[in-house]
Every structure is written in C-alpha cells, then in structure tokens.
Amino acid sequence: MSKMRREIQLTSYIPQIVGHLEGLADAVDRKTAFDVLAEYQSRARRDTGAQVNSAYVATSNDSTYAQAIAAAREANPDLQHFLSEIQPSDGYTYVAVAVEYAAVNEFGGHGRIGDGALTNAVESQRAAFEAARARLLEMAAKESL
C-alpha cells in the first residue's frame, strides 16, 4: 500500500484586505482634507487673499505647501514670512494655514473677533467623514468573516 502525502496550503488574505482598507481609509482622509480646505477658503476672512491661499493639505507622502505659498506670495508680494511646512507622521493628514496671523483671525484676540473659519470647515465635513469611516468599518467586518 503506497503512502500518500497530502498537503493543504492555507492562504491568508488578511494582508490584502488590510492593505485594501488602508488604501480606502487614506482616500477618505484625503478627500475630507481637501473638502475642509475648500470650505475654509470659502469661509475665511479675505483681505489680500494671502491667508486663504496659504492654506494647504499635508500627508506623510505629499503636500500642497509649495503651491499654497506661491499663491499666497502672488496674493500679497509684501508678505515675507511664512510658517514652516508641517511634516505629518504616517496615517495623519493635516489641513494647515501658513501665515501666523491666521490664528488670531480664527480664534479672536484682544481687540479682534475670531471667525472660527477652520473650525467651521472641519465641522461641516464631520458627518460625511464619520459616515465614510463607518462604511469602511462595515466593509472590514464583512471581509474578515
């Protein structure tokens, strides 16, 4: 009687599933960030336009900082100083404004009323962002079954 050897190869698809979901999560973060940016630019105070133009999106892979600074300089050639570029860690996406005085316009100060433009921009996208994240979690749950 001959001996028969059987082998069963188990293949884990978990890395592919995780990779797929991470890609989708990054896409959701990125879309939300650009939507926040657009909202901010439509809501914030506009004098020369340098402040709204200096707003940018930065991830660990790429950033629109250079284009934002160029646009801000074009809006106000007298503006010399810009805040340095944010360098996000993996998994983080930032919407930032590269002029210092944006903070006092956002929060208000002694003798200056804040407009909360960035806070409002974030809040305007919160529901869509949370809904998209919830859908991703559902997908993750289904794919892991």
Binding site: V104, F107, G108, G109, H110, G111, G114, G116, T119, E123
Partner: protein, 143 residues
C-alpha cells in the same frame, strides 16, 4: 445668532458669573466676561467667549433637528507674558465650571472640554496671554 446659540451663551455666562472663585479675579459683582471682543479700556484680566461654531444640528429625527451642538472658546485674557496666576486659576475655574456640566431646565444637554487652549499675542510691543479651553455644548431643540 440663533435661539440655541443665545441659550448656550446665556448658560455659559450665567455659570461663569455665578462662580465665586472667579468673581474675585475678574471684577466681582460686575464680572468682566465678554462675547467676541472686550470693550476698549477693559481692565485685565477678563474672560472672553468666542462662539467658533455658534450652533449646528447635532441629531436629526425625521429630517428635523432634535438637538444642536455649538463650539465655544472660553478663555481668560491677561496683559502679561506668563500663563501663571491669575490666568492659570481663571482657566482652571473655567474648566471646572463648564466641563461635564448639564442643565436640563435651561435646555443644556451637556458641555465637554474638547481641547485646552493657550495663545500668545504681541500687539504694539504689548504681550497678552489667553488660557482656557474649547467646549462643545449640546442643547435641546429650542422652539
């Protein structure tokens, strides 16, 4: 300003102005608490309330808002280069007066500190410091 934001502002003002520990630091019976901006010539320190997001629908039932959220920045402002007292005590009192509080009789479902806030300003060679927090306040539907 909407009805819900007016309700939130009244509640915040009332909570702060009734805090005895704060009163001694910001003017006693006529506490220096202002919305948006303090009047010119105001003595320091004072409390500034900024409605960053005055009011937005938080819970929708059948397409109708059942509750509203507001985001309010509440901070002590002082002409100083330091975040130490009296600013620190003011910030601590703001937090203990608002964070984790609710008041159903006045339609306030809850108030939580979302983020502490510290901010420095230099205007015409004069230093100012702000210390407090960003609070999310939820109201019931106001009709």
């Amino acid at each position: 300003m909407s009805l819900s934001s007016t309700t939130i502002l009244s509640w915040i003002y009332s909570r702060l102005s009734n805090n005895v520990a704060l009163a001694g630091l910001i003017g006693g019976v006529s506490p220096r608490i202002y919305v948006d901006v303090a009047p010119e010539g105001t003595l320091f320190p004072y409390i500034l309330i900024t409605p960053l997001v005055p009011s937005m629908p938080a819970y929708l039932v059948g397409g109708r808002a059942a509750a509203y959220d507001g985001i309010y920045l509440v901070r002590g402002v002082h002409q100083t280069m330091s975040y130490a007292d009296p600013l620190l005590t003011i910030a601590q009192q703001i937090k203990s007066t608002l964070h984790g509080q609710y008041d159903f009789d006045n339609k306030i479902n809850g108030c939580v500190l979302e983020q502490e806030f510290a901010f420095a300003e230099l205007i015409n060679s004069t230093n100012y410091r702000h210390l407090g927090g960003r609070f999310r306040v939820t109201t019931q539907e106001i009709v």
